[in-house]
């Protein structure tokens, strides 16, 4: 469970850079970039407390 949450967290972090990069490359609009950034932020804050600072399973 923690491993999944950790992976989801890192994917959310990646999205924070990918979204504006897609806007820079004119693949998406600024509004879409903002929505993706908000999504990434929500996912990060939701998933990170599930694993960061906690001892590893097993």
């Amino acid at each position: 469970m923690k491993k999944i949450a950790e992976t989801v967290s890192y994917l959310a972090l990646a999205l924070v850079v990918v979204a504006p990069s897609l806007f820079y490359a004119e693949k998406i609009t600024l509004e879409a970039s903002k929505q993706l950034l908000l999504l990434a932020t929500i996912v990060w804050f939701a998933s990170t407390p599930l694993w960061m600072g906690r001892k590893r399973e097993g």
Partner: protein
């Protein structure tokens, strides 16, 4: 938070390309856009010092001098489980003061490019225009994480003056006082000078702590001398603090460009360290 700062810069750069119609297809064309439209120089706002490259460099390292050089960080880092946690200060400064400032300057230059009359320095709207609600959250979280340890430190300081008061009460008081002060633009817009000033006030004490901990054992001087002798005041530390402040104030008052408020901390740190070592040697003369 760090990556949202990066997002600000990427979005701002794209918007700059759009509003200027510049062709950016190589590093040299990107550099040209930067030097001709973003960081092109200009006159400062009335009443503000013109910031050069050196101002930015020094200010990036010394903006939180009170915490890092003045050793206020120790109020929080005393809880660190490993010594390398101290690197958090350096990484925070590098990312927060170099990368975030670069990104912020791109967004601000864009605002001026679109409307030269709009000189408002408002982080919230700038962040919202570039990154929406996530940008706003980033600004709030950045402020929150900076303010928390500072209010905690201020609470500790108040508690030292009023030991009978609870830490909760004095921390709440410090937070309310700072919030109230921050509501006045006359104070908030003087932040740069204020930060430099209070960093300067604490810097000599940081030098004393550094010398006492790292240099004294190498010079075979006794650490924690006042505690060892049961003194209520260590005059070597007191003199290092007061003399350094007097010298720094005199240098700033001299009006020489090399000794602006933003620069004097560097020579000041060496002055404070030197005075503390020399006076401590004199005080401890003849002692084993």
């Amino acid at each position: 938070m760090v990556l949202v700062f990066l997002a600000f810069g990427i979005v701002g750069m794209r918007q700059f390309i759009e509003v200027t119609g510049a062709e950016v297809n190589s590093l040299s064309s990107l550099w040209e856009l930067c030097t001709t439209h973003i960081w092109k120089g200009g006159d400062p706002l009335p009443g503000q010092v013109k910031f050069t490259f050196w101002h930015v460099t020094f200010f990036a390292w010394f903006a939180n001098m009170a915490m890092h050089v003045g050793m206020s960080d120790l109020s929080v880092l005393r809880f660190a489980k490993k010594s390398w946690y101290g690197a958090a200060s350096a990484s925070g400064m590098y990312v927060g003061h170099f990368m975030a400032w670069l990104a912020a300057s791109i967004l601000y230059a864009l605002q001026l490019h679109i409307d030269p009359a709009n000189t408002d320095v408002l982080p919230g709207p700038l962040a919202y225009r570039a990154a929406g609600v996530a940008g706003l959250l980033c600004v709030i979280v950045a402020g929150w994480t900076t303010a928390n340890p500072t209010i905690y430190r201020a609470g500790l300081a108040f508690q030292a003056i009023m030991p009978k008061k609870s830490r909760f009460a004095v921390t709440i008081f410090a937070g309310l006082l700072a919030t109230f002060a921050g509501m006045f633009p006359a104070i908030a817009m003087r932040l740069l000078g204020f930060v430099a000033l209070y960093g300067l006030v604490l810097m000599p004490m940081g030098a004393v702590v550094f010398a006492d901990f790292w240099i004294f054992p190498k010079l075979e001087l006794r650490q924690h001398y006042a505690e060892h002798r049961g003194l209520s005041i260590n005059w070597a530390a007191g003199a290092a603090w007061l003399v350094t402040l007097a010298v720094c104030v005199a240098l700033v008052k001299s009006g020489h460009p090399a000794f602006q408020l933003y620069f004097v901390a560097l020579p000041g740190w060496f002055i404070a360290t030197g005075i503390y070592i020399v006076l401590s040697k004199l005080m401890q003369k003849g002692e084993a």
